[in-house]
């Protein structure tokens, strides 16, 4: 029975894996006839141990993912008044849509131009388009944020 997992579990990234550790202040325990008992030969004190119980769907990762990069319809156009129904295209071709916002699609175009310049050996042009690529990615992110800046008005200010 796990409890306070945010205080008693830790992880460490090792290559393509994570290592899970459980923090205990007692000795390692075992279950005997439904009762957890402390084993006599175990070290007693603060320690990190391997997970000492099985939890179904107990570990959850959250992250950015490579999901549905190509879809059958334009993800930025409404279907009437509804959100478009997107179907993943596993073998994409020229007619398929890239599942990105308009701004990120334009960033992708800059990336393609950059790669074209790279293959022709024009590194200056490549760098220029990569800068444009990141600029558009940044613009797309700032579109989601509204930042208010307040300035205090000086008392008795004459304007």
């Amino acid at each position: 029975m796990s409890y306070d997992t945010h205080k008693t579990w830790f992880f460490q990234t090792v290559g393509r894996n994570i290592h899970l550790w459980q923090y205990v202040e007692t000795s390692q325990t075992d279950t005997l006839a439904g009762i957890r008992i402390s084993l006599p030969d175990e070290y007693y004190g603060k320690q990190l141990i391997y997970p000492d119980e099985s939890i179904t769907a107990g570990l959850r990762f959250e992250g950015t993912a490579f999901v549905e990069p190509f879809v059958n319809v334009d993800p930025n156009e409404l279907n009437g008044n509804d959100e478009p129904t997107l179907t993943n295209q596993t073998s994409p071709d020229e007619a398929d849509h890239v599942n990105l916002s308009r701004m990120l699609s334009l960033a992708c175009v800059d990336y393609l131009k950059s790669m074209v310049a790279d293959s022709s050996g024009d590194l200056q042009k490549k760098e220029y388009y990569m800068r444009e690529f990141w600029k558009k990615v940044g613009d797309d992110q700032s579109n989601k944020r509204r930042i208010f800046v307040n300035y205090p008005i000086t008392p008795f200010a004459i304007k």
Binding site: T5, G58, L112
Partner: protein, 92 residues
């Protein structure tokens, strides 16, 4: 925007290469910003410490472990230093 439109705008002629470059661009974006996020769940096994990252995950944001006493996933912290292992039942 379609793949064809991107190819026309960039002057790229090869479709296979264009699709490969678009995938690269998406990976590059996803490494820096959150375009598409997802969650993955896996079982924790008694006595096993090593769990692989999901295959299609690009950037890790959080790791949570289920608190079975109140059925909630709680975000766990990362340790920066490798602990001294005195008894290792799962050596690598």
């Amino acid at each position: 925007m379609t793949v064809l439109e991107m190819m026309e705008r960039s002057g790229l002629k090869n479709t296979t290469l264009a699709i490969a470059f678009i995938k690269d661009a998406i990976h590059l974006m996803q490494s820096q910003v959150d375009v598409h996020t997802a969650t993955w769940k896996t079982n924790i096994t008694d006595g096993t410490r090593e769990y692989p990252f999901p295959a299609n995950m690009i950037k890790l944001k959080t790791v949570s472990v289920k608190d079975t006493t109140d059925s909630k996933y709680k975000r766990i912290r990362r340790i920066t230093h490798t602990p001294v292992v005195v008894e290792d039942t799962d050596p690598e």
